[in-house]
Symmetry: C2
């Protein structure tokens, strides 16, 4: 047990100091002061070694990502990050690993202004990281999944599929397909996209009052848009030719394969959102202020499920991941 108390050294007193944290780590509970006229957005994600990440994932990347994937959920609600708790279950106390993990965690915490207010460190046969985040959003202004209406335009931020290709590169894709050599600078970019996703927190806040529905892309575009279609009881057409692809993606794999990654790859942590025609002008201005690239990729329909088109023709993706849907 004493060994596990050492862990506190890596977490106490680090990260942003927020004035709304009245009593942080070190009591039975943390005490925080919510802002007036705001609602709380709360989400939790658990990462298990061998299930959500491989044992050889760098500690800093795991620390960064454990928080980032939760921040992405706050972004999808248009919430401002505030506080988080960390449940850390580890087989042993490895100080080099803890130093790296905490560095990555607090890099994300500092950048997004979210304070670690409590946690629990325990022994466990495998690494399990459970993060719960709290964000704040003005009353009635949260983005949800159920507001999409027929005719609304569908947008995404950033580029899609990079993370999944980065993961494949890490898992030895180059060895399996030696003819498709990926340039070192592209490989570095794609792996970085896998290890250090960029939750679209400011974009999410900018979308309040403009987007009719929003979700963050964690399982892959085709899977995640299904949640909006189900919750909103609508259909959609995605123009696959409009999907945003990075230069690294386009120059590393064939277009057909790139589109497969973009449609079903997962772990993009970009935002997908729908916007009524009347809000398109305001949207352009708001997201330009947030400094986030975005592109229109389709339109909501009254029904008919999800359709994919490519230059106006029906499109059937090749990626095997699509079968799961």
């Amino acid at each position: 047990m004493k060994e596990f108390q050492l862990i506190d050294q890596y977490f106490c007193g680090r990260g942003p100091q927020r004035r709304d944290v009245k009593h942080g780590i070190g009591d039975d509970c943390a005490l925080v002061q919510p802002s007036e006229n705001k609602q709380l957005a709360i989400s939790c994600d658990t990462l298990v070694e061998g299930v959500h990440f491989f044992a050889d994932m760098p500690a800093w990347a795991l620390g960064y990502k454990a928080l980032a994937v939760n921040l992405s959920d706050l972004a999808a609600m248009g919430a401002e990050p505030a506080w988080f708790t960390l449940g850390l279950s580890l087989p042993s106390v490895d100080e080099a690993w803890l130093a790296g993990f905490s560095e990555g965690l607090f890099e994300a915490a500092e950048y997004y202004g979210i304070a670690l207010i409590g946690g629990d460190t325990t022994q466990s046969p495998v690494k399990v990281i459970a993060v719960t985040v709290n964000g704040q959003v003005p009353e009635g202004k949260a983005l949800t999944r159920f507001g999409a209406r027929s005719g609304d335009w569908i947008y995404v931020t950033g580029t899609l599929g990079d993370s999944a290709l980065g993961l494949d590169l890490l898992r030895g894709r180059q060895q399996a397909q030696p003819n498709q050599k990926v340039a070192p600078e592209h490989s570095e970019f794609l792996i970085e996209r896998h290890y250090r996703p960029t939750p679209r927190v400011l974009a999410g806040q900018a979308l309040r009052g403009l987007a009719s529905a929003a979700i963050d892309l964690s399982d892959g575009l085709v899977s995640d848009i299904g949640h909006i279609l189900n919750a909103s009881n609508v259909g959609a057409t995605i123009e696959v030719d409009k999907l945003p692809l990075s230069a690294a993606m386009k120059e590393s794999v064939a277009l057909e394969e790139a589109l497969g990654y973009a449609l079903t790859g997962g772990e993009d942590y970009e935002l997908l959102f729908t916007v009524p025609e009347a809000q398109r002008g305001a949207l352009e201005i708001a997201l330009a202020h947030a400094g986030v690239k975005f592109v229109r990729i389709g339109q909501i329909s009254a029904g008919g499920g999800l359709k994919l088109s490519f230059n106006g023709q029906p499109f059937a993706p090749v990626n095997k991941g699509f079968e799961h849907f």
Copy 2:
């Protein structure tokens, strides 16, 4: 993955329906409405199979206890339970286990009026249960560990040591010491105290404005009071002869052993709190309203660490657990 989606069946739409939950399970985040002029108390605890509980612990007991131990942290702050999230990592989807686990979990949730607002179910080599609770407490009224002053009286709720003796009975203590046979009704009571602790939520709220410090007893009295002494920079004398023992405890083991359980056994989830002399009368009235038994067991001193006495004489406990302190 699909198998794990089944899990939602056991958790969605159950437990108390709270009007301050604006948007529950099923979006990127839950949305809740905090009360005006209140602060939030937030705590998380992780339970790992083989570390915090044995594989043969009944599912209902684990479900109940996973929430109860977190409610006990809210009680120790004087907070009113509001919302919680559940991270559930399981080796497989065992529907009988899930039915039992969720039954125990929602028994506690209903009784204490706390709503499940979100969660994450994942695969894992071992069972890991991560609960984060949110409570509310009027601004500036939270109980903490750092307010104890020399001369304050020390109290505990309920009886001590039952849970640890109950655990020993479960682990086969009777076989090891056949001469000390425990009556079946006592055994049942003691095991129930281990499986179904009673977080002192109402007592904690009643102590607001009266207690100068409070903590819940999870690791054992001697260990846990140390947190108050350290945080408040004071010492204490515990009158061991005043420790509250259940009839089951007194009639099942020798007094010396009973006191060892009470001092160091752990998992009591009773409240230990300190009260200035001037508040003693108000305390009696307030706790009588809450319907919780409590007893004075000692006094805070200006320094000198923790002293134990028995009928006015120095006392050295026999329980080996004491060595760790």
